[in-house]
Every structure is written in C-alpha cells, then in structure tokens.
C-alpha cells in the first residue's frame, strides 16, 4: 500500500510539474530591458535573420527573437502570435489592405530615426487621411521576365531565325517577344530546351506570380488611365493584354497546360536553373533560389530581365515592376521598452556598418534608406538590374499596385480560374467576368 502511495504521489508531482512548465515558459519579459520579437515574412532569408539576431544579441545583450512563417501562412501565424502575451514587436503588412487588418496594432513611425533615413517616403503606409506613418517599407524589389542569355544568344545565332533582331535586349514590345518566343518553341530541339517558359505554376498556393504579379500590369494601366490609386470596381479593361502574355506563358511552356495544376514555383525555378527553359517570370529575390539549385547552369552574367510586355500601346518605354509589399509595423501593443529595443535593433540593422553588410550581402535587400551609399548595394545580378532600371529616367517603371487587390480570397479564386482556363475548363470571358465580379464583391466585403 505504501509503495502505491509513493508511486501515485510521484505521478501527480510529475504531472503537476509538466503543467507548470507548460504555463511558465512565457513570463521572462519583465526584466526592465526591452526585447525584440520579429515576425519575419520571408522564409528564404530566415536563417540570415537568425544570424543577424544572434550577432546583435552578442554585441548589445538585447534579446532578439526571430520567428518565420512558412510561405503563405504569415497571416495565420501573425494572428495567433499577436494574441499571445509576448506578441511580436515588429511584424510585416503587405500594404494598405494589410494595414486595414492591423491598424489597431501599428505604432506611428513619424518621429523615429529610421523614418528620417527613408528615401521613398511616398510609398510608406499612412492612415486613411494620409497622416502618420504606420508601415515602413524596408526593401525595394522588382520583377519581370527572367531570361537565360546563353540560350537567347544561341537562338539569335541561328541562321534561320524568324526575327531580324539580334539580341534579347532589342525586344521592346509584346509583338517582338511573341515572335521570338514562338519561333524559339518551333526550334526548341535545336536549342536543346524543353520549352521557352518554365511551368506556369498554378498549384493552389503556388500561383501568386500570376494572379498578383502578372495581374499587376493590366491593373496598373487601368489605374493610370483613370488617374487613381485604387478602385472599388475594376473593369479589367486590359484583360486582353493579360490574356496575351498568359497565353504566351502557357502555350510555350515546357509543361502541357493541362498539367500546370501540379507545378510549384520551385519546380519552375529548377527548370530555369537547369537550363531546360529560357525564360521565367519572377523577381530579383529569385537569384538565391536559382543559385541554390543543384546543377544550376545559369551564370551571373547570363541572367537578365525583360519587362512584362503585354501589348499595351507605348510599352516600348515600359520598365520592370518595381515596388514593395514589405512594410514593417512597430507593434503599438508592445511595452515602451520593447518598442525602443525594436527601434534600436532596426537602426542597428540599417545604419551600422555590420548591419548594413548583412543587409547587402546576406539579405540581398535593396534598402530604401539614405544610410546606404551609392556603392552599398547588393551584388547579385538581378538586384543590380533592378537598380539600373530604377535609375533609368527614360523608362517607366510599373508600380506595385497589387497591394490594393481586395483579399486573399480574390487572389485564390483568380488563380483557380486561371488554372481552369489553362486546363480548358473555363473560357477567357468567364475568367474575366469572375475577376470583375469578385473584385467588386471582395471590395464590398472589406467595407462592411
């Protein structure tokens, strides 16, 4: 009997300790010193942030916690993290729409040091009346159609090519692009490629390059025609232009359009890196991914950018799509000490030499702060090209208007519709109709 009692007491004690440990983990933040908890949006640079955090902690003794959400799950994670007692002190929103969700949690950046360093003050997120600064852009990115110049040169050297230009840089509009691409498809065996474009990845959750980034171009032109920054009702006036480029993507791809529903972004980047295809739509963030593919054949000198031409009049001067959806928010719910610690951390990252080194070399960010000199830019080839395009006054960069797209539901539905169009189970008119309807209903849902 006695041993039984002992055992039962031991069991209960063990259980109670487990419970106590479970509950007690979080209570260390009241040590007077502020702490930083950064919710990172970009999984591709998760390790870099952890390294930066560790280095900062070593140098200053301030604890920096970095958590990264897996691709496509940021909102979910943020929602649950923000409900905790030790909530993130620094998190990301993707523009005006994200600000609407999180506005009660965003502190004003106006009086901070880092804001005074911001170069592109006009792209920061302000409230409805244009006052305050609630989202701080921390990176500028650009995207377009990436091409492997080695394959392009091979094509332009062919004696029987159907176009009279002699380099990819001379492609200045959609018609030329189409002529080149279709001729390349016809000669793909000679060129040793499986298709001109990598797979148009339309698997659920992998379709953001098309439903947001390609879609950005027609929406940009529609906004521009109307002289607005956002619309309650999209007419999708440039839908034929979207169809132009999308048809070109799916019909000259290495993958049969019917099978695109199983392809991921990784698949298509691997196809590009291995030299199986000549072009792929993506942004400067893709360089690390391409470089990291086993057996990568694309060299730094050979990777180049083309703007996304869609057959809009006057597109000869069109540049890359340049902007950001990376805005940092300082949590207004965090304690003052934590807020200050977070600001100090950001200042260190973007203004100290050690921090800047990480930003340029490891994160590969084009940072929109004046603490970075002319020469202090990432040396990866795509970032260089984006900066060139940005500084070229002759061409018109396409701003990132997709931050005004109404909701994730809109994007998901549109991506699914594009897949059905590619598979032949929906007509283009149906897709267009769905876009117009969904845009209106999702924008209306936001208003409620």
């Amino acid at each position: 009997m006695k041993t039984k009692k002992v055992i039962s007491v031991a069991l209960v004690a063990a259980m109670a300790m487990g419970l106590a440990a479970g509950c007690g983990g979080g209570g260390e933040s009241d040590s007077g010193e502020g702490q930083v908890y950064f919710m990172n949006f970009k999984p591709e640079v998760a390790e870099v942030w952890e390294q930066i955090a560790a280095e900062y902690t070593e140098e200053t003794g301030v604890e920096v916690k970095v958590q990264t959400a897996a691709a496509g799950t940021y909102e979910q994670q943020l929602k649950s993290e923000m409900a905790k007692k030790d909530a993130p002190t620094l998190f990301q929103i993707n523009g005006q729409i994200g600000y609407q969700t999180w506005k009660d949690y965003c502190a004003d950046w106006s009086d901070t040091d880092i804001y005074s360093h911001l170069v592109m003050k006009d792209i920061a997120i302000t409230d409805e009346n244009g006052e305050g600064v609630y989202g701080l852009p921390y990176v500028v990115e650009g995207y377009g159609i990436l091409y492997n110049d080695a394959i392009m040169q091979k094509y332009f050297a062919l004696p029987d090519k159907a176009v009279d230009i002699s380099s990819a840089e001379e492609i200045k509009n959609f018609d030329t692009l189409k002529a080149v691409v279709e001729d390349m498809t016809a000669k793909k065996d000679e060129l040793g490629i499986e298709g001109v474009f990598g797979s148009t990845s339309l698997k659920a959750g992998e379709d953001w390059r098309w439903q947001t980034q390609t879609m950005n171009v027609p929406v940009y032109y529609e906004y521009k025609d109307d002289g607005v920054q956002d619309k309650e009702n999209l007419e999708f006036t440039y839908s034929d232009n979207f169809k132009n480029i999308f048809d070109l993507f799916i019909n000259n791809s290495c993958t049969d359009p019917k099978l695109l529903g199983s392809k991921s972004v990784d698949d298509s980047m691997a196809e590009f890196a291995l030299g199986n295809v000549a072009m792929i739509q993506n942004g400067n963030w893709a360089w690390n991914q391409i470089k990291g593919v086993d057996g990568n054949t694309v060299t730094e000198e050979n990777i180049k950018f083309l703007p996304i031409y869609t057959g809009v009049e006057g597109e000869e001067n069109q540049g890359l799509c340049i902007g950001t959806e990376g805005f940092w928010c300082l949590s207004s719910q965090a304690s003052e000490a934590d807020q200050q610690a977070t600001l100090d951390f950001i200042d260190w990252v973007f203004t100290s030499d050690a921090g800047k080194e990480h930003v340029i070399k490891d994160l590969g960010f084009i940072a929109p702060f004046d603490s970075f000199g002319e020469t202090e830019a990432p040396d990866d080839p795509l970032a260089q090209l984006v900066m060139q395009s940005m500084n070229d006054t002759e061409i018109e960069s396409i701003g990132w208007v997709y931050t005004t797209f109404p909701s994730q539901t809109f994007k998901d539905n549109y991506g699914a519709a594009l897949l059905e169009y590619a598979q032949g189970t929906k007509t283009w008119d149906e897709v267009k109709e769905l876009v117009v309807e969904d845009w209106a209903s999702e924008k209306a849902a936001l208003q409620e």
Partner: protein, 280 residues
Amino acid sequence: MQKAIKKYFPVFALPTLLAFFISFLLPFLMGCYLSFCEFTTVTDAEFVGIENYLKAFQDENFLNALIFTVKFTIVSVLSINILAFFLALALTKGIKGTNLFRTVFFMPNLIGGIVLGYIWQLIINGVLYKFGATLSLDAKYGFWGLIVLMNWQMIGYMMIIYVAGIQNISSDIIEAAKIDGANKVQTLFRVTIPLVMPSVTICLFLVLTNSFKLFDQNLALTAGAPGRSSSMLALDIFDTFYGRNGWEGVGQAKAVVFFVIVAVVALTQLYFTRRKEVEN
C-alpha cells in the same frame, strides 16, 4: 474501495479535468462567443450579434462544401466499413500469417494525414499524368482520390475493431447455427452481424465523424482545387477565417454550425445503431 475512489478522485481526475477544461472546454466556449464577434486576434473582439451567421449561410462556398462533404461521407462510410468488415472476416479464419496481415493493414493509420495527402497526391498525379490530367482538373478526381486515401488509411483501424468483435462471438453459437443447418450466408447475416453490432456502432461513429471533420488529407491532396470545388467543410472554414480581412468571425460562425451538424449526425447514428445491438 468506494471510499478510496472518492478520496483519490481529485488526485487522479483533476489534472485531466483541468487539461480538458483549459485546452478543450475553454476554447470551445470562447469559439462560440467569438462567432458573434468581429475580431482580428482572439483576444480583442467586438460583439456584432448574428451578422456572422447571416453571412455564413449566404456563402455559396459553404453550401457547396457541405454537399461535397455529405457525398464524401456517405461513400466513405459504406466503402470503409464494408471492406474493413470483410477483411476482418478473412483474417479471423485462422489463415497463415494472420498477424502479419493485420499489422500491415493497420500501418497506414500510423501515418499523419498531411503526409498521406502529399504521398497520394504524387501517386495519383503520377497516374493521371499518363492521361494528360492532374488532380486539379476536375473535382471528381479529388473526390475519388480522397475516397481512396481515406479507405487506405482507415480500413486497417476499423478492421482491428471488427476483428475484436468477431473473436468475441462464442464458437458455441456458430456451432449451434451450423448444426441447425444454417449455410454460410445465413450464419453471416443472422448470427455474426447482429453479434458484432457494438463494433458496427463504434466503427460507423468513427468513420462518420472522421469523414465529416476531414481536414489534413483534404488540404494536402487537393487544397480545394479546382477552385473551391473539392473543399470540404473544415477546409472551407479555414479558408473563410484566413482568406478575407474581417471575416474571421464568419469562419468562426461556420465552425459552430459545423459542430452542431457533426453532433446531430453522430448522435442520431449512435441512437439508431445502439438499438440494433443485441446481447451476446
């Protein structure tokens, strides 16, 4: 003895009760409350009344998901239970390697739903590729894909329960039936099945509720593709919660409705199959 149980009740039951309260009852009650609120994070919510429920019922996707789920449940309940029962019958005949077979059939149940979903996605897409199609071409591929997956996963588990039930039937009764001249089919329907009704109750309940609540497998296999046409209820709730700003409450309202549906269906089934149970 009775006294001892009373005395030690708090010691043994309290930790579990506490855990049940913290991680089950409390979130459940909170969820019910949140379904009447508009919120971004669960800790600050604003009461808005039944608005969320109105939106939930007007949502076409919810209705489609409900229909898809019901269809799926009917097919999987039938196929899983019938196949599992016959497997159990076969594996109680004392053929060689019975234990090995039982183990192998049970094993898929040990793999997590997400993993299974991705594995089957590869397998099914691999086959469909040959015919120039993928799982996302049509909702029916997703539907049958899910059926195959769930059968593969759950048959083994249900089989074990049936095996236990069948082994429980005393050989006297079977022998008596034989002596009375009952043939194999008669023995099966008049003796074996009525006597394993308790197992049937459990198996039906498990498959029914699991099919209704299916989420991981659905998410991993099709994620609703094409569009949302192969979304089941749980996935639709998830998508509603995260897909739109300000719709978190609607997702929560759907979840409460979902709970009611599952509870009603499961309890009805329990009531009816319980009545069919007979004493061994």
